[in-house]
C-alpha cells in the first residue's frame, strides 16, 4: 500500500489538530470516572429522594458488578455515537471537497488512502477506551473491590471492538456516498438493526450487541456464556464493511 505511512501521519495529525482525539478521550474518561460513581451513589441518591417523599426503598449494597455494568452501558452508548461521528465525514467530506481526488493524483493507492483513515479512527477510539478503562478501573477499585485487571482489560477490548463495528459500517456509508449525513444514517440504521436483532433469542448472540454481556462477565471474573459468537460476528461485520469500502472506492469516480 503505497503512501500508507505518510497518509497515516497526516490523518493522525488531523485528528489531533481538529481536537477530535482530545474531545473523544475527555468524554470517554469522563464516562469512565462517572460510571463507578453512579453505581456507588445512585442508590443512595434515589433512597434519599424517596425518603423525602415518605417512601422507603431498600436497595442492595452496590457492588463491583454494578460499576462494571454501568461502565459497559455508558461507554458502549457514548462510544457508538462517537464512532459514527468520527467516521461519517472521513471519506465523504474529502470527496465532496475534491481533496480525495487531489491526494489520489499522488503516488498513493486508494487502499492506502482508505486504510489510513480507518486506522486513524480506530486509533482515536482506542486511545479514548484506554483512557476510560484506566480511569474506570481506578475509580471502581477505589469505591468497590478491585475487579480482575485481566478481565477488565478484555472487557475494554470488547467495547472497543463493538465501537469499531459501528465505525466500520459508517465508514462504508461515507465511502458509498458524498454526504456525511447519509453516512451517519447508514451507521444509525445499523445500530437500530443490531438493537432489534440483538434481542432475538438464538440470533442475538451472533451480533455485536452480545459483546456487552460477555464483557461484563469477563470483568467480573466469570466465564461468559457466549464469547466466540459475538466476537466472530463483530469481526465479520468489520471485515465486510472495510472490504466493501475498498471495493466501492477502488474504481469510484471522484
Amino acid at each position: 500500500m503505497i503512501g500508507l505511512g505518510t497518509m497515516l501521519v497526516k490523518e493522525l495529525r488531523e485528528q489531533w489538530r481538529t481536537r477530535r482525539l482530545l474531545v473523544v478521550t475527555i468524554v470517554f474518561v469522563a464516562f469512565g470516572i462517572a460510571s463507578p460513581l453512579l453505581a456507588r451513589y445512585t442508590p443512595e441518591l434515589i433512597g434519599a429522594l424517596a425518603g423525602e417523599e415518605g417512601i422507603d426503598i431498600a436497595f442492595p449494597p452496590p457492588t463491583t458488578a454494578d460499576a462494571i455494568g454501568q461502565f459497559v452501558r455508558n461507554l458502549g452508548q457514548t462510544g457508538v455515537l462517537a464512532a459514527i461521528l468520527l467516521a461519517m465525514g472521513s471519506v465523504a467530506t474529502e470527496k465532496e471537497r475534491g481533496t480525495a481526488a487531489m491526494w489520489l493524483t499522488k503516488p498513493l493507492t486508494r487502499a492506502a488512502f482508505l486504510s489510513a483513515k480507518a486506522f486513524a479512527i480506530g486509533a482515536v477510539l482506542a486511545v479514548g477506551v484506554v483512557g476510560a478503562g484506566i480511569a474506570g478501573f481506578g475509580y471502581t477499585a477505589y469505591l468497590f473491590e478491585a475487579p480482575s485487571a485481566g478481565g477488565w482489560t478484555l472487557m475494554c477490548a470488547l467495547v472497543l471492538l463493538q465501537m469499531s463495528a459501528y465505525a466500520a459500517v459508517t465508514f462504508l456509508g461515507s465511502t458509498l456516498t458524498r454526504s456525511p449525513l447519509a453516512a451517519a444514517g447508514i451507521g444509525i440504521a445499523m445500530l437500530t438493526l443490531i438493537a432489534i436483532v440483538g434481542v432475538l433469542p438464538g440470533i442475538g448472540t451472533w451480533t455485536p450487541a452480545g459483546l456487552a454481556t460477555a464483557g461484563v462477565a469477563l470483568a467480573a471474573g466469570a466465564d461468559p456464556e457466549r464469547l466466540a459468537e459475538p466476537v466472530l460476528a463483530t469481526i465479520a461485520v468489520i471485515a465486510v464493511a472495510l472490504i466493501g469500502s475498498w471495493l466501492s472506492f477502488r474504481r469510484q469516480e471522484l
Binding site: 497526516k10 489538530r17 487531489m102 499522488k106 503516488p107
Partner: protein
Amino acid sequence: MRGRELLELAGRLSGIRGPALRSRIDEMLELVGIADAAGRSISGYSGGMRQRLGIALAVLARPPVLLLDEPVSSLDPAGRRDMLEVIGRLREHSTVLLSSHVLNDVERVCDRVAIIDSGRLVTEAPVDELLEQYAQPVFRLEAEASSAEALPSLAEALRLEPWVVSVDAAPGSLRVGVSDDSEAGRRLLAILVDRQIEVLALERMRPTLEDVFLRLTGRRTDEGSAA
C-alpha cells in the same frame, strides 16, 4: 493544514524527503508567489491563493507534462493575471497543456495552440503561425455621432469592394475584415473622405486567436475550446 505542510505531505508521497524536499518547497512557493503565506492555514487562503497552491502541488515532483484544465476560470481579474504569469513561468519546469475557452489567455501564455471544435481537432500550430496564416486584417472604424446615420450605406458600399472580406456593423462603428491591409488602408481613407464621414477613430486591429477560431470553426467562441 498549512500550505507548507500540504506540500511536505505531497512531497513525501512522491518520495522526496529531507533537505531536498525543503528546498524544493521553497522553490515552488517562490514560483507561485505564496512564500509569505506558506505558514498560514489553507482555510484562510483566497481562491487565487488556493489555485497557486494547487499549481505548486502539481509541479512539486517536477512532472514532465502538466495538464491544466481552465486554471483561471474561478479567479477575479487580478488573480487571473497573476495566475497566467505563474503558468508562464512553469514552462521552465514542465510541458504545460492548458485547456481553456478564454482565447485571450491561451494567446498570452501558450507557444502552440490546438483548436478543438465539437470534439474534432481543427488545427494545431504555433500561435504566431496560426495568426499569420488564418487571421484576417481587421479595421475598426468609429464615427462621430453626426455621421452615424451614414454608416449603414457605407457598410453596403464596402461590401462591394474586392478587398473587403466582411463588414460587421454596430451602433456608431464598423468592423471591416480585409484581404489586403495595405490596399485597404489607402482605399478606406479615400472612401471616408469621399463620403465626408467624420471619423472619431480608425485603427488596424491586431488579429487575435478569437478571429482565427471564428474563421476556422464558423462558430461562436463560447461553443468550442482551444488548448
